[in-house]
């Protein structure tokens, strides 16, 4: 009898409607209005790669040990270096990072013994050409410069 009445008065459907009605005015809205409102990514976020430079003298921190290139599963990092005859130390000449093949696993970052290579919180890495995805040393040191929209 109760079941029949419940069926006639559409109790199950109104129960569901009540749930949607309760959620009409949510306290927290998850949708981000992206170009205007930028997401705050976590501190450990693995985004665009960066080659750190020493802030005091502007020299690169990279010691061109090639460990990141060996750690990379896709072998997309190419490091070249030249031996400085005066100091007998290897000096970085070029550093190429192919972001089009990168899967941001963070293994290069783990491998780096001097924390020179780092995956940063930048996530806007789109380019108009494929060649633009291959980052050279200068690009890696400066980082991407996306257009910031305001409204």
């Amino acid at each position: 009898m109760v079941r029949l009445l419940k069926k006639i008065f559409l109790v199950d459907l109104f129960q569901g409607l009540w749930v949607t009605f309760r959620n009409q005015n949510p306290k927290y809205i998850y949708t981000e209005q992206y170009p205007a409102e930028r997401p705050k990514v976590a501190e450990r976020y693995r985004g665009a790669p960066r080659l750190n430079i020493n802030p005091d003298n502007g020299e690169t921190l990279c010691i061109s040990c090639n460990l990141c290139a060996l750690a990379c599963p896709e072998a997309l990092i190419v490091v070249t270096s030249m031996r400085n005859e005066e100091t007998k130390r290897k000096e970085l000449t070029t550093f190429t990072y192919d972001t089009s093949r990168c899967m941001f696993c963070g293994l290069c970052e783990d491998a780096c013994p001097v924390d020179a290579l780092e995956l940063t919180q930048d996530f806007e890495m789109a380019t108009y050409t494929r060649d633009g995805q291959i980052w050279d040393r200068q690009m890696l040191e400066e980082g991407p410069k996306p257009t910031q929209y305001k409204c």
């Binding site: 749930v19 976020y45 963070g106």
Partner: protein, 370 residues
Amino acid sequence: MPDQTFLDSTELVINMGPQHPSTHGVLRVILKLDGEKVLGTECIIGYLHRGVEKIAENRTYAQFNPYVDRMDYVAAVSNGLGYCLAVEKILNVEAPPRAQAVRVILTELNRIASHLLWLGTHALDIGAITPVFYCLREREEALKIFEKYCGARLTTHAFRIGGLLYETYDGFEQDIKEFCDMFLPRVDEYEELLTTNRIWVGRLKDVGILSADECKEYGVTGPVLRAAGVKWDVRKAQPYSGYDKYEFDIPTRQNGDTYDRYVVRMQEMRQSVRIMRQAVAAMPEGPIMGKVGKVIKPPVGEAYVSIEAPKGELGYYVVSDGSTQPYRCRVRPPSFVNLQALDRMIRGGLVADVVAVIGTLDIVLGEVDR
């Protein structure tokens, strides 16, 4: 005028997919129809084949770790756990207790995230649009915890062979506790929307029945098997990563139809919350990395480890020839095995139920095709 035209034929063969939104990826199903009735189906897979098992043979053990996340991409953490456990078994090391507790918490959180995505899309296939918004809202909370912990939301690469790379962030335990408290009322909300809803029940009851014997014949695992009444859960049967320390039930149902699979998955989410609460309450202190060298070079041997992924039993079989690269890495994906039961479940059913049955199997094509 010919005696018979194509209009007279009663059987009709149509393609569903590979771009059909309800096939959850790039699955192509050839349906043989007689009016509304399905006479037979054939699955064509392989549109997302990347040769992951072959890639493994050309990568070192640590380098292959991020690739396993890309198989079942909605439950990347479970895949990572299975692979790490398999390599750890050859190496004969065990992750420290703290690493095991964090692994359990994250895999259970991932189970919830995976089931939420399943529930949302499954309801969307059936025609209920509301649940997907609520499910993705809660999934967002889970993904935020992943992002805070390891820096990525989906392809997490959270675990390393031998333990963990990342120590938990400040407030990790608080976040998990808050998630658990927030989540249980939300499950009630979904159940309020769906469990007694007459349209939902009408679409799912007695659709795609797979009995316990048939499940065993096909090798079907996970919630599909448990909905048929078989109490089989790898977490209980062969405890790994310290699951024997936690108290939880294996939800089972008897009929093995689509509705029962829905109920079992809802219960599983509640059990996951229960496990997470216990793991957070008894989180041991200590190191997070076992005794593993920088270069992982396991001795000659092989290991098979299976874990309970959200979709079923996920197995990793790794053969080592003593070098730094695996000689062979074979994956036993739950989605691939479960998918072959599709023909048995849908034969004789209605064409409208095909999407319901594909949805209830909870397949991820990245894992089916590998």
